[in-house]
Symmetry: C2
């Protein structure tokens, strides 16, 4: 296997030539029913990826296939599954797929089978959730736990929170909503205080999540929560469980009711299907729901091993993204789920994508000379239509769009108005937007003119159920992974967050030795000695 920069590949040069022929601004008159029917690739669990409204001709697709082959994308994925040290900077394996099932060789380290380790932790999580639901574990005052609060930040917050919100309506409708969940993430003390004010502490189980056990924000929030429990005369040891690594100070610690483990091979932004998401989701919706999410993710992982880009949605999505970013020059991507349940899914993808591929250095530590990860943002439709779609339709930059939609709602509560129900209106809006962005509309008045040629893709399925959600999550994880391979990046470290941590410590010390930092601290009245 060889690792080369994108601009050293022959297929990239071919793609750059093809890009010159594309009318970057013009409409896609070619979008018709035949093209739409011929542009569908299955993801898994009933989800499909439709790329008809993307600016890709057969020539472009052929060159993208060449790029996939030239950069050995599937072979690199297989090597990752087999336990290669893909996280080169930190010298770590990358094993989040193994949380969902075995697709590579057994990964053994120091005599320990890591697949078995993850499986064992999963079993422990499921048993624990069952015990909580059965009332085996109760709060310090003997009350049954009805509420779970996760304390974590970044990957310990965004993915689990997005999945929780995505399943809430479905679980309510199915009678599987066993415990409510809330999340404390920010070191801003107002975050924790607001959550604590909204729960009954006697019935609340806290899940403390920090792989290292040293995350500043999370430890501050843990102590805040413990102080609140102590004030309420509730023994914190009976109200907290930890999710951490076996070597962290939180492991095997009698201050927690129990501890569940991950390891260094599960990156934060890829940890939603580990104990990081598993404990809170199993408590909220039951272990079967969490297992169904894992199954959907595993199916999508398996589908991502196919070499033909027409049959591998994650691979194709990744390649088209690189085509748009590097050849067509588009700087950002909007994620637009037509599903209120996915309200925080764009925020999760923002971390997943921007933290993985927002880099300028390749996996060997050398600078690259081409654009890498784009800005990712988004809100659910139809809300976004009444917010930022003006710019998407008529702004000076073209922003590629990722639509997501489902045939049926989660809660099955709807009303007919003007001959259609709200779910039909939601979907009609989605269909209309894809066509409007692609085809545009001429008008004698330039202010009412839509140039069209604004590319989008559509991920769609019957209903947002646990399996579909798992497949959706894994699709994007795998897309981002493939893009990292194409750009020759290490998508699994995050050196860009280190400098801020160092300077924060200096700022808190009261004298950083940097007069600009000291001056900002003075303006903001940062004082190490607090009230």
């Amino acid at each position: 296997m060889r690792f080369i920069n994108l601009d050293k590949t022959a297929s990239y040069k071919k793609l750059l030539k093809l890009a010159k022929k594309i009318n970057k601004a013009g409409g896609s008159d070619a979008l018709d029913a035949i093209r739409i029917r011929g542009s569908s690739t299955p993801i898994a669990a009933g989800l499909k990826y439709n790329w008809a409204a993307k600016k890709v001709s057969p020539d472009v697709l052929a060159a993208l296939q060449e790029l996939a082959d030239e950069q050995e994308l599937v072979a690199k994925y297989q090597a990752l599954l087999d336990g290669d040290v893909v996280n080169t900077g930190e010298k770590r394996k990358v094993l989040h797929h193994l949380l969902r099932g075995q697709l590579g060789k057994p990964v053994i380290e120091k005599g320990k089978n890591l697949g078995e380790f993850y499986k064992n932790e999963l079993e422990r999580i499921l048993a624990f959730a069952q015990a909580v639901h059965a009332g085996v574990h109760t709060g310090a005052s003997g009350r049954k736990f009805t509420q779970v609060v996760q304390i974590g930040i970044g990957g310990s917050d965004l993915g689990p929170r997005a999945l929780y919100l995505a399943m809430e309506g479905w679980a309510t409708r199915e009678g599987r909503h066993k415990m409510k969940a809330a999340f404390i993430s920010n070191v801003d003390p107002d975050d924790g205080a607001a959550v604590i004010a909204s729960v009954n502490l006697e019935e609340t189980l806290f899940v403390l999540v920090s792989k290292s056990g040293t995350t500043q924000e999370t430890l501050a929030n843990e102590l805040f929560v413990k102080a609140c429990l102590n004030k309420a005369k509730l023994d914190p040891c009976k109200h907290l469980v930890a999710v951490t690594s076996e070597t962290s100070p939180l492991a095997n610690n009698k201050n927690y009711l129990d501890s569940f483990y991950i390891d260094d091979y599960i990156g934060g932004r890829y940890s939603a299907t580990s104990a990081v998401g598993g404990v809170v989701l199993s408590l909220a919706f039951g272990g079967d729901t969490f297992k169904a999410i894992l199954t959907g993710a595993h199916e999508a992982d398996k589908a991502a091993l196919v070499g033909n880009i027409h049959n591998n949605a994650a691979l194709l999505d990744a390649l088209i993204g690189v085509w748009e970013r590097n050849c067509l020059g588009y700087p950002a991507t909007a994620v637009l789920p037509y599903s209120q349940a996915l309200i925080r899914f764009p925020a999760h993808l923002q971390q997943l994508d921007m933290e993985s591929n927002g880099k300028q250095v390749n996996r060997a530590g050398k600078p690259v000379k081409y654009p890498t990860g784009p800005v990712i943002f988004g809100e659910p439709g139809t809300n976004g239509q009444h917010s930022f779609y003006q710019l998407l339709h008529q702004g000076s930059d073209i922003i590629p769009l990722q639509f997501i939609g489902f045939n049926t709602s989660q809660r099955d509560q709807d009303i007919d108005v003007d001959g259609s129900n709200s779910q039909a209106k939601l979907k009609a809006n989605l269909a209309a937007q894809i066509v409007a962005f692609a085809k545009g509309k001429a008008d004698a008045n330039p202010n009412k003119t839509f140039k069209g040629g604004r590319p989008s893709s559509l991920i769609h399925g019957h209903r947002l159920v646990p399996g579909a959600l798992g497949a959706l999550l894994a699709h994007f994880e795998n897309k981002v992974m493939f893009q990292g391979f194409i750009w020759n990046l290490n998508s699994f470290d995050q050196e860009g967050v280190q400098l801020g941590k160092v300077l924060t410590k200096q700022a808190l010390s009261g004298n950083s030795g940097d007069d600009a930092l000291d001056e900002y601290c003075k303006i903001l009245e940062v004082s190490a000695a607090s009230a």
Copy 2:
């Protein structure tokens, strides 16, 4: 007054020349305490705008002042205040400033003094909120209203929701949190169903907000809510008030407990300080709180009339944004409030900015040839640090940053850990990030290198109280307005959302005459005849 495109001004040509001299990628070694102290401009209500970490030299600032003068920015603002038809496409005045107080000539139309009209509606809102709090109005079963639910989308949702969340902690601490608020916006039926499931209908007052009275999403949600009330045997007429225009079908309608009015001169994204935000905020926090927000906004509006850019924060912020967008070529801006209370403020700014200036046609209806409004996105710090900051620090594009921070928390509940409280940690992180982005850090390992030269500004104040929030809101409204003047756009229409509306209707008709649209409807099973 003359209206010319940006690329026809002499100062723009000067700025483009200056941009060539700027080291676009390099660090800002010049950032020191003296520069920070000399780079502060008051906004209003105790807020200040600090632009020390922006890439602006005295030469650039002088050219920006020339641009402000050449484009007659303050004179155009004054004309807007005086009632000129600034919304040229729709031939409307733009009067949201007048909601907060009089800064121009009296605006009289058909014998009606519009300032008096707005003032009168405000008085009616305050009296109504007081009557609800006093129990004069109750639910149909005689229970006191404890909950308000706003039904609205776009500007009828994002601004009011952002302000509600921004004040919740402060009001709780001050004993002014009179009613809880929730919001239904999306036509996705799961949105309304989830909110209805979370409230006690007997104690819930709904505020229906639609200027035209014809917004598809809002009317569908209204009928859904009414069906729920009817099912609970509660007369909807006693549970709904309307916010609308005097000519809408919702006006003077006995189906509502009361109606409050705005007019066509209050654009949706500029309507948070009208009845659109006023009813829900006065109900939630009392009329005094809403009036304090208006006072803060009015002070900021007044400060935006100053001609010297060093003393006009909104004007300077606007000019620096254009410098970054058009001369330095940066495609997006991140809004990063170090305040959990501002969690949805970036989403409001996303609409405000992208819907106002995401355009390619000038106010006379002619295409322009330069970049206009950027992509706006953001999440609160420190959460964002653990999400997308990797790309902001080390990604291939430079993204200008807008930080916001406060000296004290809202809820005053905090804990000391490792010698500092959480609020101090929050602020130390903020100070550290500004310096890290500006100065970067050299390292022998390119993967640990931070190039620096990533510009940011800081808006800061003592505490996020109603007056500061009003000033913050108005600051950005005025910034966006000035940028529209600079680009010679009409920032007050949104023709880009029309095509989608037309195609949605066609899609719902079952046969649109467009086979691509029909095919997408087939995939998504859009059916006009609902279950």
